[in-house]
Subunit: 146 residues, 2 copies
Amino acid sequence: MCDQCDYGTLLRSVGLSDTPRRELVLGTIGNHQGVLRPSEILEKVRRRISINRVTLYRILDLLVQKKLVQRLSAGDRTFRYGLAGTSRHPDHAHFHCVHCGLMECLDPASIPLDLRQSQHPQLMKIERMEVRLDGLCQTCRSHPDV
Amino acid sequence: MCDQCDYGTLLRSVGLSDTPRRELVLGTIGNHQGVLRPSEILEKVRRRISINRVTLYRILDLLVQKKLVQRLSAGDRTFRYGLAGTSRHPDHAHFHCVHCGLMECLDPASIPLDLRQSQHPQLMKIERMEVRLDGLCQTCRSHPDV
DNA sequence: GAAGAAATGCAACTCAGTTGCATTTACTTC
DNA sequence: GAAGTAAATGCAACTGAGTTGCATTTCTTC
C-alpha cells in the first residue's frame, strides 16, 4: 500500500526485532494493494526466502497483535490480511468478490468507518469495526461464464 | 427474532418443502435473538429431534441460498446464522464479543446499512453489506478475570 | 565462545465444513 | 395400495486452514 514505509523500522517501533521473514511478510502485505490470504502471502514470500507455513501464521499473529496488520473476514473460511489503519492509511471498508474471492480496499472516503457516528448502547466496549461489501468484481461481472 | 413467523409457510414460499428438520432449524434461528453458530443450532435442534451434522449444514446452505437466512462472519473461524433481512426485520449490523464469542444484533436504526448511501465506483456489482463491531460485551467487560 | 533467549522448522493434531455414496422418506402414477 | 422415482437424511471419510508441542537454529549478551 505504501512504498515509502520502512518495514524494518515499523517492526522495531512496536518492539519486534526485524528478522528477514517478518520484514518480508510485512512488506508483502504492505506493498500489495488489497488484502491477502495466508496462502498468497506464503507464495510471495517464498519467492524470496524459504519459510515454514507455521512461521507465517505466527508472524501474522504477532503483526495483528501489535496492530501493524489487521485480520479481515471475507465471508469465506480464510482470513485476509492488510496493513492496519494509520493516519496515513485510514481504515476503510473492503469489497469481496463472491465469485473469484478477490478482496480489495475501498476508498476510505466512500464509506467512512467512524465509530463516533454510531450511537449503539455503550454497554459494550467497541474496539473496531469491519465493513465488507460482497458482490461481483468488474472482471467476474463481464465474464459470467468462468 | 419473531414468534409470529410461520416457518413452514416461509419455507414453502421459497419453494422448499417443509420437513421437520428444516422447520426446526429455521425456527431455532428465527426465535433466537442474536445469531448462532452451527454447533449451537445443532444442540438446540437435537433437543427436539435427531439430526445429523451434515444435514444441518445442508439445510443451512439451502436457507442461505433461498435468502431466508444470512451467513455472517464473526471474525473467527465459525460462521453465524441469523434470519435474513426483510421489511419486517431490516438488515442491521452485529456486535461480536472477542472474548466470549457472543454475537448479537444491533438496533437497525443505530447503524443503517443502506447501500445507496455509499458512493463506491459502480464497476462492481454490490449484493450485500456486512457490518460488524468487535469489542467486549457487557458481561466480559465487568468480569475481566474470566 | 558459552549460556540463555528468541525465532524458526517439523510433525501431528484440531475443528469446521464438505463429498460421495448408502439408506430412508415422501411423492407420483398406475 | 404397490411400484417406481425423486427428495431428504445419514454415515464415513476427507479437506483445508489454522494450532500445538517440541526440536533445532539463530541471535544476544556477557
